[in-house]
Symmetry: C2
Subunit: 139 residues, 2 copies
């Protein structure tokens, strides 16, 4: 019988669970022609009109060098508009098309999250999210 020496490590379980989650969500979002990072940025902009690119990056944990091509692509697709804030930054807002797609993406994500939630016994759910947040949030 094989024994997994990593099995009881929280970091290992974290990675396996995260990969399992992504393996479900990614194909769902690709039906909307969105990658996960793109969808996250899009719904973040919808929820925060005129937010700056740098602020989204900080909020979602995406480095500025990686934000640039994401925002550029969403812009090219006509999903958002850039409103000049000052000489070096723009406020981002979703267009009407962008809002429709953001809403669809949010639906997809909510369905996915519900599926995940249902896998966890109800009395564990609150503790689960709280513990996760302890890990990735600034102390």
């Amino acid at each position: 019988m094989v024994s997994d020496p990593l099995r009881n490590f929280p970091g290992y379980a974290l990675r396996r669970a995260s990969n399992a989650s992504l393996a479900d969500l990614t194909p769902q979002l690709s039906k909307l022609n969105l990658r996960l990072a793109e969808a996250s940025v899009l719904v973040a902009i919808e929820a925060n009109p005129e937010i700056k690119q740098s602020e989204i990056g900080r909020m979602l944990g995406i480095a500025s060098a990686n934000m640039a091509p994401i925002v550029a692509k969403l812009d090219e697709r006509g999903l958002l508009e850039r409103i000049k804030a000052d000489g070096r930054s723009h406020g981002l807002k979703v267009t009407a098309t962008g809002k429709r797609l953001a809403d669809l993406a949010m639906e997809v994500m909510q369905e996915h999250e519900q599926m995940l939630t249902e896998r966890i016994p109800e009395d564990m759910r609150e503790t689960f999210i709280a513990a996760l947040t302890c890990i990735w949030t600034e102390t």
Copy 2:
């Protein structure tokens, strides 16, 4: 004030936490010249002498196409030996050098896991791992 619309989603928190965990562990393992997948395979072999490559892949959730180069690299570095099992498979065993490195890798991983664990309030830890396991384990 910006608001993160994904903040209370378990899948989102999972990904953020997993990324934060990896950002800590990866540089530690690279001091041993090991990538995470390599280290995982190495300690899995140490814990299960003469395990087959396909069994490790199933245990760790690594596709066979991705196992091949990992095992080949560990073999080239003299960290493991392949013992013929039948015509198409070999049992894998760590060499003396491989065992030393596997032990070091395990130490690094345990330090990392302890750091992670300490971020979580003690009364949440058991539930946390149980919930994670619900997500990635076969029903």
